[in-house]
C-alpha cells in the first residue's frame, strides 16, 4: 500500500497545470497605455519554492510623476467626459475577459502569492470579476445611486494595495474608480505584482483608453511618492495600520480625499447554543483562509465555557485534516506564507505567545522543506493582556479565550484597538441581533465567516481604517456628490 493509497489518508498529487500561459521573464511599468522601462528592477519569487518568477520595474519619483500625468491627461481628455454607459461597456468587457482567463489568473495568483489554488480559483478570481460586473452596472446609473445629488468624478486616484489578495484588491480599487469616471494610478505590493501586471495586459486587450489605468510596481517608496504626489486627488490604501497612519499624516491638510482599509483582530464568538459542527468549520475558514493573511480574519475565538472543550476537540480534529503544501495542488488547504519577512513576524509573535503563558497546539503533519511555511496553530488559555490577543499576527494563528456571559464576550471582543470584522454563532435569532449590534466592527457575520460580496460595504472602525469599499458606500467614496 503506497502513501497515496486512499485508505492511508493521503492524496496523490493533483497539481493545477501552469503550462497554458506565459509569465514573462520581465515586466515593465504600464503608463499611459505603454510599457515603460525603468533603470532599476526587482525580482518577484514564488514563496512556496523560492524560485524567481519574473523581474519587474521599480518605479521611482520620475515614473510616478509620469504615471500621474498620464492619468490626468486621460481624465481631462477622455474618461471624465465619456458617458457612463460607455464607461460601463469597458468595465463589462474587462469583467468578461477576466472570467475567460480565470484559470490563468488563478494560477499566477497562486504562484506569486502562495495561496492555495482552491482559493484563488474559487474566491479571488470570481470575486474580482464580480466587482467589475457590479460596478459596470452602476456606471450609467450614478444619478439613481445617489438620488437628489449631482454626481461628478473626483479626478486622479492613487491606489496602493497589499499582497494578501493582489488581484481582488486591484479589482476592489479600480472598478469603482472607473465606474465613477476617475482615472487610476495603482501600485501593487512589492511581493505580488504579477496579477496586476497581467490585469494591465487585459486592459490593453479590452481597448481601455491609454492612461485610464496606470500600473506602477515598486516598494514602499514608490507608494509614498504616489500618495504624496500633488496632482493626486484621492488616495485609497489597503494595508497595515502603521502605513495607514503615515498616509493619513501625509494627506493631512492637502485636501486629498482618502479611504484606508487597515488591520484587524476580529472576535469570533461561539455561544453554547450554536450549531457546533458548522461553527468549527466557520472558525477554520475564519482564521486559516489564505494562511490567515486576511485583515478581517477571525483571529480571536471566544467560546462559551460549557462547550469550550467540545469545540476545541473538534477544532483540533478538523485541523488535522488540513492539507499544508504545494499551493498549486487542488487538495491543498493551506499554502505558503507570502514572504520570509512575514514568516519571521509570525514566528516571533508565536514565540511571544508561548513565553506569555498561552498553550500552543499544532497538528501532527509536516510542512515542505523549501519555501515559507507555517503550520495552522492555535493557542488556548489566552488572556486579553497577551500580545497574541492584542496584535495582528496576519498568519494562521488562532487565540482562544472562553467566556461565561454574553456581556463578557461583547466587552472582551470590543476591547481591542481594531474594529474591522466579527462573527457570532448561535441558533437564537434574537441573540444574533443583540450581539452583532453591540460589536464595534465594520462587518459582522452571523453563523458564517469571511463572506464577501461586491454589494456589501466593507471597512473598519478605530485603527482598522476609515471609509468603506463595495456597495453604495464604496461607490460614494469615488464621487463628488453635489447637493
Amino acid at each position: 500500500m503506497s502513501a497515496n493509497d486512499f485508505l492511508s489518508g493521503g492524496f496523490a498529487p493533483a497539481p493545477e497545470s501552469a503550462d497554458h500561459f506565459e509569465i514573462k521573464k520581465s515586466y515593465d511599468l504600464f503608463i499611459g497605455g505603454k510599457w515603460v522601462k525603468t533603470a532599476k528592477r526587482f525580482e518577484t519569487t514564488n514563496p512556496a519554492t523560492g524560485e524567481v518568477l519574473s523581474e519587474v520595474g521599480l518605479a521611482g519619483k520620475k515614473e510616478v510623476n509620469q504615471a500621474v500625468k498620464a492619468a490626468r491627461r486621460a481624465y481631462d481628455g477622455v474618461w471624465s467626459k465619456m458617458s457612463g454607459a460607455e464607461r460601463g461597456k469597458y468595465l463589462f468587457r474587462i469583467a468578461r475577459l477576466l472570467q475567460e482567463r480565470a484559470r490563468e489568473f488563478a494560477v499566477v495568483e497562486t504562484m506569486d502569492g502562495g495561496k492555495p489554488i482552491r482559493e484563488s480559483r474559487d474566491v479571488d478570481v470570481p470575486l474580482a470579476a464580480a466587482h467589475f460586473f457590479y460596478h459596470a452596472g452602476w456606471a450609467d446609473k450614478l444619478a439613481y445611486a445617489f438620488p437628489g445629488c449631482e454626481v461628478a468624478p473626483i479626478g486622479v486616484v492613487g491606489q496602493v494595495i497589499p499582497w494578501n489578495f493582489p488581484l481582488l484588491m486591484a479589482a476592489w480599487k479600480i472598478a469603482p474608480a472607473l465606474a465613477c469616471g476617475n482615472t487610476v494610478v495603482l501600485k501593487p505590493a512589492e511581493t505580488t505584482p504579477l496579477t496586476a501586471l497581467k490585469l494591465a495586459e487585459l486592459f490593453e486587450d479590452a481597448g481601455l483608453p491609454a492612461g485610464v489605468v496606470n500600473i506602477i510596481t515598486g516598494a514602499g517608496e514608490t507608494g509614498q511618492a504616489l500618495v504624496e504626489h500633488p496632482d493626486v486627488d484621492k488616495v485609497a490604501f489597503t494595508g497595515s495600520t502603521a502605513v495607514g497612519k503615515t498616509i493619513r499624516r501625509a494627506v493631512a491638510g492637502t485636501g486629498k480625499r482618502f479611504t484606508l482599509e487597515l488591520g484587524g483582530k476580529a472576535a469570533n464568538i461561539v455561544f453554547e447554543d450554536a450549531p457546533i459542527n458548522e461553527a468549527v468549520e466557520g472558525i477554520v475558514n475564519g482564521i486559516f483562509f489564505n494562511q490567515g493573511h486576511v485583515c478581517c480574519a477571525g483571529s480571536r475565538l471566544f467560546v462559551q465555557e460549557s462547550v469550550a472543550d467540545k469545540v476545541i476537540k473538534k477544532l483540533q480534529k478538523r485541523m488535522e485534516l488540513l492539507v499544508v503544501g504545494n499551493p498549486l495542488d487542488k487538495n491543498t488547504d493551506i499554502g505558503a506564507i507570502n514572504s520570509a519577512e512575514q514568516l519571521a513576524r509570525i514566528k516571533a509573535l508565536v514565540k511571544i505567545g508561548q513565553e506569555e503563558g498561552a498553550c500552543m497546539w499544532q497538528p501532527s503533519g509536516g510542512v515542505p522543506r523549501k519555501g515559507n511555511w507555517f503550520k495552522p496553530t492555535l493557542f488556548t488559555e489566552c488572556a486579553q493582556s497577551q500580545r497574541i490577543v492584542q496584535e495582528e499576527i496576519f498568519g494562521p494563528v488562532l487565540a482562544i479565550q472562553t467566556f461565561r456571559t454574553p456581556q463578557e464576550a461583547i466587552a472582551k471582543a470590543n476591547n481591542t484597538q481594531y474594529g474591522l470584522s466579527g462573527g457570532v454563532w448561535t441558533d437564537k435569532g434574537s441573540k444574533i441581533f443583540k450581539v452583532t449590534t453591540a460589536l464595534k466592527a465594520g462587518v459582522v457575520w452571523a453563523n458564517t465567516f469571511n463572506k464577501f460580496d461586491p454589494t456589501s460595504p466593507f471597512g473598519g472602525y478605530k485603527e482598522s481604517g476609515i471609509g468603506r469599499e463595495g456597495g453604495l458606500h464604496g461607490l460614494s467614496a469615488y464621487c463628488q456628490l453635489i447637493h
Partner: protein
Amino acid sequence: MLLKEGAIRFPVVSNEVFPFPTRRDSPVIDQVGVEERAQRFCARSLKKETKVTALKLAVTMLDVTTLEGADSVGKVRQMCQKAMRPLPGDPSVGPAAAVCVYPRMVGTAVKAVQGSPVQVAAVATQFPSGQMRLKERLDEVRYAVGEGADEIDMVISRGQFLQGEYRAIYDEVAACKEACGKAHLKVILETGELTTYDNVRYASDMAMAAGADFIKTSTGKVPIAATLPVTLVMLQAIEDFYERTGRMVGMKPAGGISNAKLALQYLVMVREVLGAKWLTNQWFRFGASSLTNDLLMQIRKQETGRYQSGDYFTQD
C-alpha cells in the same frame, strides 16, 4: 432457514441499547453551513493510485439493489451473479457487499449468493411507506430473517415523527432490532420526508440509541434521496455517538448516487469525518443500482487510459 456455507459473516451485531434521547440532546444544524461544508469535500481531487483504490473500495461497498414490483426470480438471480463478479475475469474488483431485495425474493437471493461473501439484505416493515401496524411490520422482519436475510433495511414511521411522536420511533426501531435477531438492522430515515437537517440529526441519534447497526438515508422511492449534506449530518451524528458510547454505527446513503465521481466524494467525506476505520463495507455502503457500471468503467479507464463502450460492462 437456509444456511450459507463458506460465507464470511460479519461480527456479531451489538445489542446495546441506549436511553431515549430527547430533541435537546441533538445539536442544532445550520443549513447553510452544512451545505457549504459538504460542497468543500467535492473540491478534493482524487488522482492515480488514490483514485483506483477508492473506486475499487466503492465496488465492495455496493448494496446492489432491485426493488420493483416487476422483480422476478430470474432478475434477482442475474443481479446476484453481478454482485459476486462485477467485472468478469478480474477478481481484484468486487465482490459487492450485498444484494438488496424485497422479502419475497430473499430465498432466491440467498441460494444465488451461496458460498460467496455477498450478504442478502431485505427491505421490510412495509417498505417504502411504513404505513401499517407495528405487529405486521415486525412479522415481515421475522419472515425475511427466516428466509435467510443477513440484513434488514427498515423504514421509520415518518408520519409519526413529524407529528412529534418521537418515542414511537425509538420503540419501533428497538422492536425491529429485537425481531432481527442475528441479522443486521439498517434504519432508513427517508430524509427527503423529514425535510430539515435538524430532524435528520435527531432521527439519527434516536435510531442509533435504539440499536441501529446502520443508518440509511432513503428508500429511493421519494423524489429527494441521498445528498452529500444530509449524509454529512448523519456521519456527524455517528461520530458524536461513537465519541460518547464507543459504539460504531454504519452509514448507507441510498438513491441518487448514480456516478463514480459522486461516490468518491462520499468516500472522501467518510474518510474526513469518521476516519479510515469506517472505510470498509462493514461500516459504509452505497444503496444504488446504476452506480456499479460507472465505477467499473472508471476503473477500466484508470487501467487502460481509455473509456470503453457500455457494451463491455454487463447489464443485468
